[in-house]
């Protein structure tokens, strides 16, 4: 998906998320993962780190080489989504109580991710490659 498509999709999900409260923490966390990942992808595409035909589904699946590149070009970007993803096993898939604080934190993380997606820019001269465990593929954009 293109950066603009990711931005539009993330805003749609954020609008629906407004119908929930922190007491609904399971779906707040899931919605944050979905919207946050769209904003992450928009930022990564705009930075030229990933191409629009190479969306990330979950940052925990990122190969180390891609993590290194993101950490240098967009420090802290991966960690914003990662923090949301870390809430899922215990509060969504598991039944640890008091997920309200996690849901509140998700709102803060989404605000940061939205800002990062809107302001991301490609460093001059940077080339885009799809990076996977199978190797590299140049992507002219």
């Amino acid at each position: 998906m293109t950066p603009d498509q990711h931005l539009a999709k993330a805003e749609r999900i954020a609008n629906s998320l407004a119908k929930l409260t922190t007491a609904d923490y399971e779906l707040v966390i899931e919605a944050a993962m979905l919207a946050g990942t769209h904003w992450f992808n928009a930022a990564a595409h705009r930075h030229g780190i990933t191409s629009s035909d190479d969306d990330v589904m979950h940052v925990e699946y990122l190969p180390r080489a891609l993590r290194v590149k993101i950490s240098l070009i967009a420090p802290g970007l991966t960690e914003l989504v990662e923090e949301i993803e870390q809430f899922r096993p215990i509060f969504v898939k598991g039944n640890v109580a008091d997920g309200e604080a996690a849901a509140k934190r998700c709102g803060e993380l989404l605000d940061h991710l939205r800002d990062r997606a809107r302001t991301a820019q490609r460093p001059p001269g940077l080339a885009t490659y799809n990076i996977s465990t199978k190797g590299l593929a140049y992507r002219a954009e």
């Binding site: 999709k9 119908k19 979905l34 598991g94 640890v96």
Partner: protein, 152 residues
């Protein structure tokens, strides 16, 4: 997770679903059904003795589970025949005579709409909504039947 906890999760996701307009809020309406449907299928799998109820919580990595150590603390462990992340993840053999077969089929149908319409740019139509709604009803009906059926 335990059967009662899965059922409680399903009930919560089912209530969340009712807050949304199926077209305007398709992504979260859909996600409520997928998450709730998976929860009640996990309850049914445990009730029918096909997977184990325990305190291992699913992660996004098949067969890798989160085990809570204390407030805010948890670690990973390998688990086999525990909670599913999605139907088919991990792959397990289902008793072909179980009511769960229909729940599995309906969930596979529901999951067909996930990537095109939640992660992708598919345009949600009334037909898409009707198919998702029908699949979800079938999941709940079949999973409840499997729970009532008990151990096989």
């Amino acid at each position: 997770m335990r059967i009662a906890a899965h059922i409680e999760k399903w009930e919560r996701f089912d209530r969340f679903r009712s807050r949304f307009d199926p077209i305007e809020d398709f992504e979260l309406w859909y996600w409520s059904m997928m998450s709730g449907g998976t929860a009640i299928i996990n309850a049914a799998l445990h009730a029918s003795g096909q997977t184990n109820a325990n305190e291992l919580f699913a992660t996004q990595i098949p067969d890798v589970y989160a085990v809570v150590d204390g407030p805010g603390q948890w670690h990973h462990e390998i688990g086999v025949r525990c909670d599913l992340i999605h139907v088919g993840l991990p792959v397990i053999d289902i008793d072909p005579g179980s009511a769960l077969v229909k729940a599995y089929e309906a969930m596979h149908e529901l999951e067909r709409y996930r990537d095109p319409y939640v992660r992708g740019e598919g345009i949600v139509t009334a037909e898409v909504v009707a198919r998702c709604d029908s699949s979800y009803s079938e999941i709940v009906k079949a999973a409840r039947a499997a729970i009532a059926e008990g151990p096989r």
